[in-house]
């Protein structure tokens, strides 16, 4: 797989299973959707001013979007990463991700955020030397192009996109007006004013 991780946590089984082709519908079990809700909520939490990713049913959104819009390779990369999160949760923190403390959840995701940044940096360096310099899953070129080949940008992007285009995200965290009625080119802005959702 395309992911640069400490060797200890990349097991051959994991590589094999994650590269197998399109994801089956049953991957989006209730349990996994709940897990995705928890991941999303860690990235975009409910705050005193607005609801978070869970309220936007981010797991359910990911189910629809990943199933219908991702290529089989992108889906493999996505699930590889989700399984990775599960694995670290149980191996390192001895519990399921949803049951971890917020600090532990963040620790895991921040690690992947950093990995993904490193990965993108290395890929930039090495791809110029050889188009195939980075190990990619079979036929994973497409996924690389769009998401940098690492699963975490996918999860982050799905969370942001799914949340900010949802009703709670667009109308409570941002400002949304379907029918503005007019256009004004110069409206005073003061810090804290929300961005337009569309």
């Amino acid at each position: 797989m395309a992911i640069i991780l400490p060797a200890a946590i990349v097991s051959p089984d994991m590589i094999f299973s994650s590269c197998k082709s399109a994801v089956k519908d049953e991957y989006f079990t209730e349990e996994n959707i709940k897990l995705l809700d928890e991941i999303g909520e860690t990235i975009i939490p409910a705050t005193s001013t607005s609801p978070g990713a869970k309220a936007a049913q981010i797991g359910q959104f990911m189910k629809v979007y990943v199933t219908d819009c991702y290529t089989p390779d992108e889906q493999s990369t996505f699930w590889y990463g989700i399984n990775k999160i599960k694995e670290i949760s149980s191996n390192k923190y001895k519990n399921q991700f949803p049951k971890l403390t917020l600090l532990q959840k963040k620790e895991i995701l921040q690690k992947f955020e950093k990995d993904a940044q490193e990965y993108a940096k290395n890929k930039k360096k090495s791809t110029s030397a050889s188009g195939d310099a980075v190990q990619t899953g079979k036929g994973n070129q497409e996924a690389m192009n769009e998401y940098g080949g690492h699963f975490y940008p996918m999860v982050k992007e799905l969370t942001l996109f799914g949340f900010f285009t949802s009703q709670p995200g667009a109308t409570k965290a941002l400002r949304y007006i379907q029918t503005p009625g007019s256009y004004k080119g110069d409206v005073p802005y003061k810090e804290g004013d929300k961005v337009w959702a569309t």
Partner: protein, 572 residues
């Protein structure tokens, strides 16, 4: 003709037939019907009724299962149309699907089509600028195409005629290079755009920065209210069909207006096979139509025929209209039918950031950009390439997707993402391309579509002139952004295939000489004057303007001429 039921012929006979219900066909129908001409409008696609058939017009982002993105299946089945910026979950229903409507690409050409009543007028980008006298004089002055048989003065009253009805917002800028029209109030520039306008115009005495002109009712007049159209609400969701009739389309405007006269017969699901030519009468007598679903062939008859099937399909129909007199296509004695196709060059884009102005934001979604009329080769040939380009740009503040520093998750991150980012500027070109004999369309000799009509084979490409023009734009664009105070300027050549501009024109060009053109100054086929071609196919050159308003003006002008000629008995 002896064996054909005369009642059948009578039932299928009109004064005029218009092939196509898009932006120009709608205008032909309106003008003809208003003058008491019984008009049959043939549309190959399904009916789309204003408001009733706009299923997505009131939807919010979260109402779309994929939040307006395309599914993998849609992309795989539609590799061509998926490239179009407006082909998304909310407006897919108004685009022809690749699989259903194949064509042959001799060279890469992304052919974007709208097969329904209203055609592409439902999904167009709605930018409307008049041509200037320099655009009409250009081909003869610089010798890159045949002379236009008309001049700006011939079309100016017809621009006014259509602009008043359509409703065009714009500022009276008083520019010779982009004449003013019958304008409704203009859209505003935001603070960054205003600042850039000043700095660019201070730095370049030959360049103008103005607000875009577009077919949106910023302040409806009586004539628009009569069309039951209301003020544009700055939603910028136009390609779904507008619940307010805020922008112009055949569906919201010309077709219902024509229907009100009682003279319109609209026949959707009617695929035109060819125009019928009568060798004895030496004129076209009607149109052969295949029912889109039953495939039953019916002939319709009329004294005059307007061909408005959209540029390349109008070529196809004429090429497929063969007879003893015209074995190579209707009116095609000189063999030039299908040749001298041109388009517009959209390859160049620039992006930049702009510091400060953080105490200002905007409200609503403006349906146009800021623009700069062409400033290259206007008064004389002076560059190492022919013609020029229009520049469009707009400034905006970063949305929720903008990158933020610091925490990448949690409360602080969320807070940062929910506030607007800094200002960014995007700029693009709309370049004139040179019509060439080698840029052409023809009929496939062995491949046919579902209706037995030969597939269109498209052989159109960029040339060195386009690359030089593109390079000039990228250099000038970067320099102007720099002088306007922008930072982090990046340029890009999309290398997109011709066609994706959706501004393809020509193939049945107008001209003065029957040896070098197909149409005369009234858009009549030289060799078959009761056939008028008034969509993009008639264009002798492309200009740097968005083309639709010129098609509309040419159509209204030709239709009124046709009515006069009919009255004089010159066309029957």
């Amino acid at each position: 003709m002896g064996n054909i039921n005369s009642k059948g012929i009578k039932d299928n006979t009109y004064d005029a037939i218009v092939i196509g219900s898009g932006i120009s066909g709608g205008w032909a129908a309106k003008e003809l019907c208003e003058h008491g001409i019984k008009t049959l409008v043939l549309e190959r696609g399904r009916n789309v009724r204003h408001l009733i058939d706009y299923p997505t017009m009131a939807k919010d982002p979260w109402d779309f299962p994929h939040r307006n993105e395309l599914t993998l299946k849609v992309k795989e089945e539609n590799p061509i149309v998926s490239k179009c910026y407006a082909f998304r979950e909310d407006a897919m229903q108004f685009f022809a699907k690749d699989k259903e409507h194949p064509y042959i690409q001799e060279k890469p050409f992304d052919w974007i089509r709208g097969y329904q009543v209203g055609g592409k007028s439902l999904i167009w980008a709605r930018q409307t600028q008049r041509w200037s006298k320099y655009d009409f004089e250009g081909p003869a002055r610089d010798g890159f195409a045949v002379d236009w048989p008309i001049r700006y003065e011939d079309l100016a009253p017809w621009y006014s005629h259509v602009e008043k009805f359509v409703g065009i917002s714009g500022n009276k800028d008083g520019l010779e290079t982009l004449p003013d029209g019958e304008f409704l109030p203009p859209w505003e520039m935001n603070v960054v755009e205003k600042s850039m306008q000043k700095r660019i115009m201070d730095n370049y005495k030959d360049r103008n920065v103005i607000i875009g002109r577009c077919a949106h009712l910023t302040q409806p007049k009586e004539i628009h209210l009569e069309q039951v159209r209301g003020q544009c609400q700055a939603r910028n969701l136009c390609q779904r069909g507008c619940p307010f009739g805020g922008y112009f389309s055949s569906n919201s405007s010309t077709l219902p207006w024509a229907a009100k006269t009682g003279n319109l017969t609209l026949r959707p699901d009617s695929v035109v096979h060819s125009i019928i030519y009568d060798d004895k009468k030496n004129m076209a007598t009607g149109v052969r139509v295949i029912d889109a679903h039953t495939k039953v062939i019916t002939e319709y008859f009329a004294k005059i025929i307007f061909v408005n099937a959209a540029a390349l399909n109008s070529n196809l129909i004429l090429l497929n209209s063969t007879s003893t007199r015209f074995p190579n296509g209707l009116g095609n004695d000189n063999g030039l039918l299908g040749k001298y196709v041109a388009f517009q060059n959209y390859r160049g884009t620039l992006n930049a950031s702009m510091d400060s102005f953080l105490d200002s934001y905007y409200y609503g979604r403006r349906p146009c950009a800021v623009m700069m009329p062409n400033f290259r080769n206007v008064y004389k040939q002076e560059m190492d390439f022919l013609r020029g380009y229009m520049v469009f740009f707009s400034a905006y503040r970063g949305g929720w997707e903008h990158a933020v520093a610091g925490d990448q998750m949690g409360e602080t991150f969320k807070q940062a993402e929910t506030e607007p980012g800094n200002w960014g500027v995007s700029m693009m070109m709309q370049g004139e391309t040179i019509p060439k004999e080698t840029n052409r369309v023809s009929l496939s000799k062995n491949k046919k579509d579902e209706w037995g009509i030969p597939l269109l084979s498209i052989d159109v490409a960029y040339d060195d002139n386009d690359v030089k023009s593109l390079k000039d734009f990228l250099i000038q664009g970067a320099e102007m952004l720099d002088k306007a105070g922008c930072k982090n300027i990046t340029s890009n050549d999309s290398k997109q295939a011709p066609g994706l501009d959706i501004h393809e024109v020509g193939g049945v060009r107008m001209g003065k000489d029957t040896k070098t053109s197909l149409l005369n100054k009234w858009n009549q086929l030289h060799e078959c004057p009761n056939v008028f071609v008034t969509d993009g196919a008639c264009m002798t050159s492309t200009g740097t303007q968005n083309p639709s308003i010129t098609f509309m003006a040419l159509t209204a002008r030709a239709a009124n001429y046709a009515v006069e000629e009919l009255k004089k008995g010159n066309l029957n």
